[in-house]
């Protein structure tokens, strides 16, 4: 298996916290970052995220593939924004300070640079935190955490089933795909697009039929074990909250409050140094 949902066991204060507290903290953190467009606050959050990453003892090289993916996406997103709206920052900030002029409507303005900095910071604020959550929380504790923060245990159980069956379905996909390719189903660029889409169905149909059978088997097994008869259930991986957990959840809540406070102080979501 490749390193998806790779829980990396370590001894660190972050690993020791309960999953539910980390989940709350991750969600409030991303929410705070989503609300605000205050560059200073985003910068501060990014730095704190990096510090927390350091504390967790997770090494950069352990997550570098995932970071590389996100980095490519981030760069492309910025390029697209610039190509489509080189003056978008000017529009947002209501001021225009041109630094360099290229050609036509393309140039570099201070406002556009600040806007791009915001866009980039939005990534750098959330990515370390989400990766931190994923790599310091056991997948089976993740479902228990969802239930803990108020998601119905039936839905939490669905998430837990999904995490359980991802590796199985991936393996099955590879098996079917190789079997079909051995029979001459072409999926590479030697065929044209429409033919490839049609050929893909030759892999997807066995996959979906076997998944339907799996659904049948698993739901019968759960039915026989009286799943869902009670209004609550317990989780093997659930942990009780400790003082530190309450503290970080409160801190997460505070971050969201700061975001709202900044909207009030800045008179809008943007922090505008130009007026």
């Amino acid at each position: 298996m490749t390193g998806l949902f790779n829980y990396i066991p370590r001894q660190s204060p972050i690993h020791a916290m309960t999953g539910a507290a980390k989940l709350v903290c991750m969600l409030t953190w991303t929410m705070a970052a989503m609300i605000t467009f205050d560059t200073r606050y985003l910068l501060l959050l990014t730095l704190s995220a990096l510090v927390l990453f350091r504390v967790s003892g997770i090494k950069f090289r352990e997550v570098k593939v995932l970071i590389a993916f996100s980095a490519v996406f981030m760069v492309l997103n910025n390029v697209l924004i610039y190509l489509f709206a080189p003056e978008y920052g000017v529009e947002l900030y209501g001021a225009r300070t041109e630094l360099v002029h290229f050609i036509g409507r393309y140039g570099i303005t201070a406002q556009q640079l600040l806007y791009h900095a915001n866009v980039i910071l939005k990534y750098t604020v959330t990515i370390p935190m989400v990766l931190l959550f994923v790599s310091t929380t056991q997948p089976s504790e993740f479902a228990a955490s969802l239930n803990r923060i108020g998601v119905s245990y039936r839905i939490a159980y669905s998430v837990s089933l999904a995490l359980r069956y991802i590796p199985d379905i991936l393996k099955e996909y590879h098996d079917i795909s190789q079997a079909q390719q051995a029979r001459g189903v072409e999926l590479t660029s030697k065929e044209n697009l429409f033919k490839r889409l049609k050929n893909a169905s030759a892999i997807l149909l066995p996959l979906i039929l076997s998944s339907l059978e799996r659904i049948e088997v698993v739901s019968t097994a759960m039915e026989l074990r009286c799943f869902g008869k009670r209004s609550k259930r317990t989780w093997y991986r659930a942990q009780a909250f400790a003082a530190g957990d309450y503290a970080i959840m409160a801190a997460g809540g505070a971050l969201v409050c700061i975001s709202f406070l900044l909207i009030y102080l800045n008179g809008g979501r943007l922090w505008n140094p130009f007026v």
Partner: protein, 182 residues
């Protein structure tokens, strides 16, 4: 709220796993850069048809959110698009009777019109509107992404989704195909 049935819970779990695998690992690159055709939406469409709107919404949300989680940032605007698509196809599923072994030309036409409209609403309206609201991105860029996204998804759902429905129905006994012996 009505309790979810065990069947729905399991369908959501395994459906989300399927969505995740197809979204993350399987895609056909197209000549247009940074645009790929993936098979997550045909599968979401078929599963929603079979298991109904509630399952559709949940597979959309859980499958998409888990796939995003892996890369470090969840784009809730696009997750909402997937949720809507699952919901819409779930309602269409109550009209089409795949489980009774019926999916003729009429079924294929209904399915394709519905999926195209649902994709257009998801990626041309819901996701871009939320992107502008939440992430404050320039409108032209967002709508271009939406247009490219819906075109790719409509194409793959039209071809792969329709073929899957036909093949699924062919593998099921038709309703009323058995007669009682005297």
């Amino acid at each position: 709220m009505q309790k979810l049935s065990i069947k729905t819970i399991v369908a959501v779990g395994i459906g989300a796993a399927l969505f995740f695998v197809l979204h993350t690992y399987v895609a056909i690159p197209t000549p247009i850069p940074n645009t790929r055709i993936s098979f997550d939406y045909p599968i979401l469409a078929v599963l929603s048809l079979l298991f109904g709107p509630v399952a559709g919404v949940l597979i959309g949300i859980i499958g998409h959110a888990l796939s995003d989680l892996v890369y470090g940032s969840i784009w809730w605007s696009w997750v909402a698009g997937s949720a809507f698509f699952g919901l819409a196809m779930g309602f269409v599923g109550t009209k089409l009777k795949l489980d009774d072994g019926e999916f003729g030309v009429k079924g294929a036409v209904i399915f394709n019109i519905a999926q195209a409209v649902a994709h257009l609403i998801s990626w041309g309206l819901i996701a871009p509107a939320l992107d502008i609201l939440i992430y404050s991105e320039p409108a032209d860029k967002i709508f271009l992404q939406g247009a490219v996204g819906s075109a790719g998804n409509i194409l793959s759902t039209a071809i792969v989704g329709t073929l899957l429905c036909i093949a699924y129905v062919a593998a099921r006994p038709k309703k009323g195909s058995l007669t009682k012996e005297d």
